[in-house]
């Protein structure tokens, strides 16, 4: 899946009122484009905390139908959103198109959740896979990233990764092809898979990368963004309305793609 293919799809939630949250001016042109297309916009300003609170209140009243955050303070934004939706931890997902990879490479995690609980891992994985299916990838290849390719008790995340991979092999995870633990090279490089002789169903063609922890997610996404990427989009999953959360490195097009992707996913994805 590429962004060119993605924008051919008709979003479910691309009308109504778009809430612009945060002080960065670079999100304002997206509001102008939204209004040109017949929608309305509302700006939530003030501190990030005040703006987030007002935006979520507006969503609860049925006023704003989709939100766009400026993405300058990623962790603060996610935490504030998470506090406003206490019933279930939110997920974040970033998709990046790179010259060196043939499709959008998505990366996802539950920022406020600990991935040492298998139930939480499976819940989060289910949300991410469902999102990719909605975006048009019926059998997403999911790489559970690690620094090794074998289950090692000394690296605790490899234990749940191996368990989840086994569940995938037994058909317990629907159509998703999930494998791990996998080194990054085995997730994105068929040549590395051949060179190392590792049997992996992902086969170096991952659609979705799931890092073992939040530190890795943040560094990995930043590294991919700073790698001369093409287009990108960031969304929050599990909130009462579609939420676009582009990277702080996003340009005008990336911000629009984030809104578009959030719209495609619709509410309560």
């Amino acid at each position: 899946m590429t962004f060119k293919e993605l924008v051919q799809k008709k979003p479910g939630t691309m009308s109504g009122r778009l809430g612009l949250v945060g002080g960065d001016e670079k999100i304002l042109p997206v509001g102008e484009r939204w209004r040109r297309d017949g929608g309305e916009t509302v700006v939530f300003s003030g501190s990030l905390s005040e703006a987030t609170s007002a935006a979520m209140e507006s969503v609860a009243k049925g006023e704003a139908s989709i939100l766009l955050f400026d993405g300058l303070r990623f962790m603060d934004t996610v935490r504030l959103l998470d506090e406003s939706v206490p019933a279930r931890p939110l997920m974040v997902m970033q998709g990046i198109e790179l010259e060196t990879y043939s499709k959008i490479l998505w990366t996802g995690i539950a920022p406020e959740s600990h991935w040492d609980n298998l139930r939480e891992v499976l819940r989060g994985l289910g949300i991410l896979v469902n999102a990719l299916e909605i975006l048009g990838e019926p059998t997403p290849r999911v790489a559970l990233l690690s620094c090794v390719e074998t289950i090692s008790p000394g690296i605790p995340s490899t234990v749940w990764q191996g368990t989840v991979a086994q569940m995938s092999r037994r058909g317990q995870l629907g159509n998703a092809i999930v494998d791990g633990p996998l080194g990054f090279d085995l997730a994105v490089s068929p040549e590395a898979v051949r060179d190392k002789g590792v049997q992996t169903s992902v086969d170096g063609q991952a659609d979705l990368l799931i890092p073992p922890d939040l530190n890795t997610y943040c560094s990995l996404v930043d590294a991919l963004h700073l790698s001369g990427h093409g287009s990108s989009a960031g969304v929050v999953l599990g909130a009462p309305c579609p939420i676009a959360l582009p990277s702080r490195y996003a340009d005008k097009n990336d911000i629009w793609l984030s809104v578009y992707t959030a719209g495609l996913l619709g509410p309560k994805t």
């Binding site: 490089s189 530190n215 890795t216 590294a223 991919l224 963004h225 702080r248």
Partner: protein
């Protein structure tokens, strides 16, 4: 660049050399019967001064590290060992080190100080005498919600106070460390935007991020383990020859510093 002592299956080595256009007489060959024997023999050669660099070939890393870390191997100096990935990222104009993606799974406070110390030594071998180092975090602020950011702040301060490194700062996100402070940041940094070294929170973060830059950005990679009697050149089996050669060059520079 180096004289090589090849340790392993002697018959197989002798078969491969002419295939690679190399002359058997140019190499010392020590025949062994298993991976464990190869690791022990290579470690012994380094401990006895017969070799100044230990380079991993097609042997599982844990097997080699077991021999290196064994007390009877005599390669340990009583220091913490850590892995340094030095990357030449196209267009960046400078080398960037990520550490530790190969030895310490979840380094504690003191081990992070050792990682910084080892990274400094590698920087000196690369003629970077006052490296700028960033301890990575999910936020640019020490945040009680994320204990690792508090530790990063503490390690950075301790490293400066103890004189382990002059320019060290943390926590910084990967993006801030490389891209610089946001325009409206209320503070200044002598590291953000021009780091030589990024210290990760754990082995997975470092390994995965470095491999992302190698596999999707075409970075040339040099891997070395510092802190032992001799440097260990450690690369992945899937690394192309240029990375293996660059790693050997880096380890040789480190070895020259020690002579």
């Amino acid at each position: 660049m180096v004289d090589a002592l090849l340790v392993g299956d002697a018959k197989e080595i002798k078969r491969l050399l002419p295939e690679l256009g190399l002359v058997e007489g140019d190499f010392q060959i020590e025949g062994t019967t298993s991976g464990a024997n190869s690791a022990d023999a290579a470690v012994r050669a380094c401990a006895e001064g017969a070799a100044h660099v230990l380079m991993k070939g097609k042997i599982p890393t844990p097997l080699l590290l077991k021999a290196v870390l064994a007390p009877e191997g005599k390669l340990r100096l009583g220091q913490t060992l850590s892995h340094c990935s030095v990357l030449d990222v196209p267009g960046s104009g400078r080398l960037l080190m990520l550490t530790d993606g190969g030895v310490l799974v979840a380094p504690d406070f003191e081990q992070k100080l050792s990682i910084i110390e080892n990274a400094s030594r590698v920087c000196v071998a690369l003629r970077v005498t006052e490296p700028r180092m960033a301890l990575l975090g999910v936020s640019d602020e020490a945040d009680p919600a994320f204990p690792a950011t508090l530790e990063a702040a503490g390690v950075a301060r301790t490293a400066r106070v103890r004189g382990i490194a002059k320019f060290v700062e943390g926590p910084l996100t990967f993006g801030t460390a490389l891209g610089g402070l946001p325009a409206n940041a209320p503070w200044e940094s002598d590291v953000a935007g021009r780091p030589d070294v990024l210290v990760a929170n754990g082995i997975e973060e470092c390994n995965i991020t470095a491999k992302a830059l190698i596999n999707l950005r075409g970075a040339i990679f040099m891997g070395v383990i510092a802190g032992a009697k001799v440097p260990l050149s450690l690369v992945s089996r899937s690394d192309p020859p240029r990375n293996k050669l660059a790693s050997l060059a880096l380890a040789s520079l480190l070895a020259l510093e020690a002579l």
